[in-house]
């Protein structure tokens, strides 16, 4: 019994679901369309229900840190308090409308979120300074292309050297798009093959059958 649940059910479900969703995309019947739509819904509901596993994983780890008095353990306690406050106020009334929730969201969460995102500016400058040295043919191409695009993009240089705008646009439209399209096409071949391997049950890790 346990072997069936360990292997056959997950593997079989993967085959059936993938085959069904493929069939639904190419051949239209009311029955398969309805089943396909509800399976997709199911995946969302399962994921939402399972989200607590992550939360529990985090809480257990945090608890261990606190009991070990690991570095910054007091901030871990603070984190749990923030979590409780957010969860509590989020549940009162329509989502996101409680004043405390909205205040934390607008004045702490979103500014931090935005600042973390904008950290990438520092990283890209550092990566740019480190990498953009003409060491080889590849890095020369990388360097020249980035340079032309930056000349085109900066409003001032784009205005002073207008000839860089058509050159830059051409580079974006022709060789760069050719490269990106090739990348997208072959990466998609990878996705298709990966999915079919799962469907044919030769790729087992994907559905959790690792042993």
């Amino acid at each position: 019994m346990s072997n069936i649940l360990k292997r056959e059910v997950p593997l079989g479900l993967a085959t059936v679901i993938i085959a069904l969703l493929f069939f639904d995309y190419y051949v239209f019947t009311d029955i398969t369309r309805n089943i396909a739509l509800s399976i997709a819904d199911w995946a969302i509901i399962i994921t939402a229900t399972a989200a607590g596993v992550g939360v529990l994983n985090m809480i257990i780890r945090t608890y261990q840190n606190i009991s070990k008095r690991a570095e910054y353990w007091y901030l871990d306690i603070y984190m749990l308090v923030v979590m409780v406050v957010m969860a509590g106020t989020g549940l009162i009334g329509a989502y996101g409308t409680h004043p405390v929730f909205e205040w934390i969201m607008m004045n702490a969460y979103l500014p931090i979120d935005a600042s973390i995102y904008a950290m990438v500016f520092f990283d890209i400058v550092s990566s740019y300074y480190r990498t953009f040295r003409v060491r080889s043919r590849d890095s020369a191409i990388l360097f020249i292309c980035a340079f032309i695009i930056m000349l085109k993009n900066a409003p001032l240089t784009g205005g002073m050297l207008p000839s860089f705008i058509p050159i830059g646009d051409w580079m974006l439209n022709i060789p760069s798009t050719a490269g990106s399209r090739a990348f997208i096409i072959v990466a998609s071949i990878g996705v298709v093959a990966f999915t079919i391997r799962t469907m044919l049950q030769t790729e087992r890790t994907t559905v959790g059958v690792v042993d």
Binding site: A40, L110, P155
Partner: protein, 275 residues
């Protein structure tokens, strides 16, 4: 000479960062007013909204995250204002992040003049729907899928939602979602043959141009410059035009920096000190 070159190649990155910050703050505090030019893709974006007759229906996904306020914020307010000004009816929905809906309510809406438009008749804000692409498929086929709007009203009680049933009734799809909108285009624009315009990050423009060539997207706003050009076309100078000087100055600094490091690199390499 050698020591200068090797110093240039080993500048502490914190010095570069501080220089960049100074170069951003300076033009913001005392504007320089550098010139700029309107791109074709921006003009097409403007035309797509401008050419809609009053009363047309638009599905809008103004759905950016807090981090993108600098880049796409001006696009959101300008587009929204344009829709209200042109008497176009629209439905707003978010698929990417829940804070997209919170920002729409708290940041973009307060900044625009809603004229005499009535909620539920002229526009509807559905808010955030979980499920991403899977939910998009369901929503495109049936607009009543989310059941409730952002404020908790039942959708069936809103007049606009009784007129508009599915993507078939929509005249234009607007997606301002930082450029990662291929899923939305795949679910809304392509299957229903609805023209789409997108607000992308400047970085997303090459990807979007691909969709423009394929005929899926008709107009693009690319990041802050796109918004600044859009503001020029709308004749309403706003937030976007202010930031453009800083962009120019930092770009020029970075261009000079990379030229100098490469000169230093070559001078050292010609002496055989590095390979």
């Amino acid at each position: 000479m050698t020591s200068i070159a090797s110093k240039i190649l080993n500048i502490d990155r914190r010095i570069i960062w501080v220089t960049c910050i100074a170069l951003i703050v300076w033009p913001l505090v005392s504007p320089i007013g550098l010139p700029m030019k309107v791109d074709e893709i921006t003009r097409k974006y403007y035309d797509a909204i401008e050419s809609l007759p009053p009363g047309s229906i638009v599905l809008a996904s103004i759905d950016i995250e807090a981090g993108l306020v600098g880049e796409n914020g001006a696009q959101c307010t300008d587009t929204l204002q344009h829709l209200f000004d042109k008497d176009i009816k629209f439905i707003q929905i978010c698929f990417y992040r829940a804070d997209g809906a919170i920002l729409f309510e708290n940041l973009w809406l307060p900044k625009v003049d809603q004229r005499d438009k009535v909620y539920g008749v002229d526009w509807v804000n559905i808010g955030y729907i979980e499920g991403h692409e899977t939910a998009m498929t369901a929503f495109a086929a049936d607009f009543s899928y989310p059941v409730k709007d952002y404020y908790g009203n039942m959708l069936e009680g809103l007049q606009l939602m009784t007129e508009v049933k599915s993507m078939d009734d929509v005249d234009l799809y607007i997606d301002i979602a930082a450029g990662d909108c291929d899923q939305a285009l795949r679910q809304f624009a392509t299957p229903y043959d609805v023209p789409a315009i997108t607000g992308a990050m400047a970085m997303g423009v090459p990807d979007m141009i691909m969709y423009m060539e394929a005929g899926i997207v008709t107009g693009i706003l690319g990041g802050l410059p796109g918004a600044a050009q859009y503001e020029l076309l709308l004749n309403k100078p706003g937030a976007a035009i202010r930031g453009m000087d800083a962009l120019s100055v930092v770009h020029i600094f970075l261009l000079c920096l990379v030229i100098i490091t490469n000169l230093a690199y070559f001078s050292l390499r010609s002496k055989g000190e590095i390979k």
